[in-house]
């Protein structure tokens, strides 16, 4: 067996060349029509006389869509051309159950394991390191099921070995006395542990004046940024933002979540800076969007299509993708929902390719992909 070229080999299998993919899942069915309102579609304002985003308040994107004013911190990334928006995106399955829709989307259809897990398992030259996949939180999300090595973590402390100081020294001695891949794996793992210890000890200073808020989402992204910068071989991270189920008082439910999302993503974007953002992709998704028409309680009910965001990783941003179906009665689906014109897999597929997927057939089985041109 060939000797690994760098100590990074077992941490990433790729010497960190691959970059990290950060999946942000908005749980509860986030309303794409509020996140990215179709300002120039009259149907939108008619359907939501009380809760529509007013064109004057919105962050202007392209003349047709706008960003919700509470997402204004994302404007610099949009202007830099590092943020793309995909609208009318969602699943082929019409279920409006949170559980079923999240399950199907995270599994990538009626399949065993999660799409991110299968990607990590089947990508070109897959060799998972101890820190290749992490989920911020107490449990692994379904999308990471079946990953070769995935860890749910709440803090870096979760990784350290509570052994006497001499333990690692002597362990290093035993592994060094071996030859071949096991010796190299031992050496790399010790290097990773040392780096984690350093990370824990250091007072992390985000770069470029970025400031992370104190909520779990921002703090989660802060740890992801820290791991990316420490080059410990992170390839995939999952962070959730919960609480988008805005059946009543849309603003009261969504506003705090949008602030979290916007502040967290913008701090992360700023902290990593252009060089690291070029290899780091953040994708934001949700299980479904919400009914076009507002309900009597100033809220919206479960619907179909929503919006997705792709930040960094070389995406050709500053533009919206996906076909806008319009909001006339004939095009709306079922009880009056935005139909899905782009399948979520067709957004994920080009991103996974960018991150070295190789064959996507095992990642998205039983689905004919028509990947969006995110990078062209």
């Amino acid at each position: 067996m060939a000797q690994p070229k760098t100590t990074q080999t077992f941490l990433t299998g790729k010497g960190d060349a691959q970059g990290a993919l950060v999946v942000v899942f908005l749980r509860g069915g986030a309303d794409g029509l509020s996140l990215v309102p179709p300002l120039a579609d009259d149907g939108y304002h008619r359907a939501r006389p009380r809760i529509a985003v007013k064109p004057a308040d919105a962050v202007k994107l392209d003349g047709f869509y706008g960003l919700h004013p509470l997402l204004k911190d994302l404007e610099p990334a949009w202007k830099d051309g590092a943020l793309a928006v995909i609208h009318a995106v969602g699943s082929e399955d019409a279920t409006r159950s949170h559980f079923e829709a999240q399950d199907l989307m995270e599994h990538g259809g009626l399949a065993a394991g999660g799409w991110l897990g299968r990607f990590l398992r089947h990508r070109k030259g897959a060799t998972a390191g101890p820190l290749s996949a992490i989920a911020l939180g107490r449990a692994l999300p379904e999308c990471l099921r079946g990953a070769p090595a995935a860890t749910a973590m709440t803090s870096l402390k979760d990784f350290s070995i509570g052994a006497p100081p001499n333990f690692l020294t002597q362990l290093g001695r035993l592994y060094a006395a071996n030859t071949g891949t096991l010796a190299a794996a031992g050496r790399d793992t010790l290097a990773a542990l040392r780096r984690i210890e350093e990370l824990r000890a250091e007072d992390y200073k985000p770069a470029h004046g970025a400031e992370y808020a104190g909520d779990y989402f921002s703090q989660g992204l802060r740890q992801v940024a820290q791991l990316i910068k420490a080059r410990v071989g992170l390839e995939a991270a999952s962070v959730d933002v919960n609480g988008w189920d805005s059946h009543l008082s849309q603003g009261a439910v969504m506003d705090p979540e949008m602030i979290k999302l916007s502040k967290g993503l913008s701090a992360f974007y700023r902290d990593l800076g252009p060089r690291l953002m070029a290899t780091t992709t953040v994708v934001v998704m949700t299980e479904f969007g919400r009914r076009v028409e507002e309900n009597s309680a100033f809220g919206t009910d479960h619907g179909r299509a929503s919006a997705m965001f792709v930040l960094g990783g070389g995406v050709k941003g500053g533009r919206t993708l996906g076909k806008w179906p319009g909001l006339t009665r004939e095009v709306l689906e079922g009880p009056g929902d935005l139909p899905v014109t782009t399948n979520y897999r067709d957004v994920l597929a080009p991103i996974l390719n960018r991150h070295g997927a190789g064959d996507l057939a095992p990642v998205f089985p039983d689905f004919k992909l028509a990947p969006l041109d995110l990078y062209g």
């Binding site: 077992f10 065993a112 509570g162 035993l174 096991l182 039983d366």
Partner: protein
């Protein structure tokens, strides 16, 4: 209060489980609730500087030695050769091995014995927990070690991940009625049981493979994996056309699903109206069309019979023999198994009409098997089970143990694609961090539900150096002994050492 035990269990509450254990059981059934006596006297570890024959056989035929195993097995014969011959004979006849401790250990995993209909009454989470725990406990405590090793081999070979559709309920039955029932049987019977397993029909879409008219396309998923993974192997000489023809032969098999039906859930049925009745050619063999003028019953008999025609073509095909022999040799001999051993094992497979025990006997007799000692890399499950065995730990194999497997990407029944967890070492090289974590946590009694007595263990072995020989399967080198002493955590270091990662 009319509150049945079953209803209680459906809540999935571990508290409920513990509180009601045994309350409505017949007295004879109470037997497994009394913990069988275990020996905890002194034991003799291996003495030689290299892995001797007995240690080698224990390493390969089991998930590693428990305290005392080496001494017991060595004494099965006057010479080492006689001893291992007796050990093989013993392990290949598991029905004669009393297995009280394992039975006692899995006593609370009651769903493992439930019928398919009953399984659907439980929450999926509970079933996965009990199946995972049962698998770990049998690995740790069963005396029928080679049988458990082969159960894992076939579980990977006929991989079904819990998660897709009704597999969440049905895998429990597949594990018991397909894998465990046939693990030491004949391969053709195992293959047939798997082909008609409701869990497999769900997992590889056999249940939706139908062709009611010429416009409908059969679902090829199972047919492809049957040829590529279960029998001939990817380069086994079949074509895409063969896959399509096999899929056509297998049209019409269905399973009652939880979403469509309330009764007879998981029942496998053949529906001749969903079957493609045209003529087919599978690997050059003709299967005639089923005539329209035959009676419905006759059409059903012939249509369903095509499954057996197909399985008969592939189950004992020379390519199947080669494919299985290579996989067995990869498991038991080396990552890159020598071709002479593969040929000998394939030959035994064919001569015995796919008798698993005869095939294994031939494998253990190859010079290649005897020659390659200590060079295989333990997969995470093997590592954890072997560490629990070696230290004689008490364990409930509960969530804290399973969590380590999750982190290392080797949770039982969770491999997402049909090819099963890889046997090769490369995909597992990134798991050292969690192995070391586990070693330290285990040695320092920091895993909830798992407990060991390190001091007693060393006393029983006859001192630290002897304990090290037990853990490493051979006498430790001077450097290893020194490293253990200087580490300040001798037991943990031995379990985390490169040698303990191998078998």
């Amino acid at each position: 209060m009319n509150f049945s035990r079953r209803k209680f269990l459906q809540t999935g509450s571990a508290v409920a489980l513990a509180a009601t254990a045994g309350c409505d059981r017949a007295t004879s059934d109470l037997l497994p609730f009394l913990k069988p006596a275990t020996t905890d006297g002194p034991f003799q570890p291996p003495q030689s500087a290299a892995i001797d024959l007995v240690s080698h056989f224990i390493n390969r035929l089991s998930f590693g030695p428990r305290p005392g195993d080496y001494e017991r097995i060595r004494k099965l014969g006057g010479t080492e050769v006689e001893a291992v011959a007796a050990y093989i004979a013993e392990q290949l006849d598991p029905a004669r091995i009393p297995d009280k401790l394992a039975r006692w250990a899995v006593r609370r995993c009651e769903t493992l014995d439930d019928s398919i209909g009953e399984l659907f009454e439980y929450k999926e989470r509970l079933l996965l927990e009990e199946l995972t725990r049962g698998t770990l406990l049998r690995g740790v405590f069963s005396e029928r070690q080679l049988f458990e090793v082969m159960v894992q081999f076939w579980t990977d070979h006929f991989n079904i991940a819990l998660g897709k559709g009704d597999t969440k309920w049905l895998k429990v039955a597949d594990d018991r009625d397909v894998i465990r029932r046939h693990a030491f049987g004949h391969f053709p019977a195992l293959l047939r049981a798997s082909a008609l397993s409701p869990a497999m029909l769900w997992y590889l879409d056999g249940r939706s493979n139908r062709r009611r008219n010429s416009d409908e396309k059969p679902n090829e998923n199972y047919a492809r994996e049957l040829l590529e993974l279960h029998t001939l192997g990817v380069h086994g000489g079949y074509s895409q056309q063969d896959v399509m023809e096999v899929a056509r032969c297998l049209t019409g098999w269905t399973v009652r699903g939880a979403k469509e039906s309330k009764f007879k859930l998981g029942k496998v049925e053949f529906n001749p109206d969903l079957h493609d009745k045209g003529a087919k050619v599978v690997l050059g063999q003709h299967i005639p069309a089923i005539a329209d003028n035959l009676s419905h019953d006759e059409q059903e008999r012939l249509g369903a019979g095509e499954l057996d025609l197909v399985l008969n073509i592939v189950a004992l095909h020379p390519e199947t023999a080669k494919h299985l022999a290579a996989k067995l040799c990869r498991r038991f001999i080396a990552e890159e198994p020598p071709s002479a051993a593969i040929a000998a094992v394939a030959d035994a497979f064919l001569k015995s009409s796919g008798d698993v025990c005869a095939t294994l006997r031939a494998l253990f007799a190859t010079p290649e098997f005897l020659a390659t000692r200590g060079g295989k890399f333990k997969r995470p499950h093997h590592f954890i089970v072997s560490a629990l065995r070696a230290t004689g730990a008490e364990t409930d194999a509960g969530k804290p143990v399973a969590a380590f497997l999750d982190r290392m990407g080797h949770a039982p029944f969770q491999y997402p694609t049909p090819d099963g967890y890889p046997e090769e070492s490369a995909p597992w090289m990134g798991t050292l961090l969690w192995r070391w974590n586990f070693a330290v946590a285990l040695a320092e009694n920091k895993i909830k539900g798992t407990k060991l007595d390190a001091k007693n263990l060393a006393t029983r072995a006859g001192g630290e150096a002897q304990l090290l020989a037990h853990l490493l399967g051979r006498k430790a080198s001077a450097e290893e002994r020194q490293a253990c002493v200087e580490s300040g955590a001798s037991l943990a270091l031995a379990l985390a050492s490169p040698t303990f990662q191998r078998f």
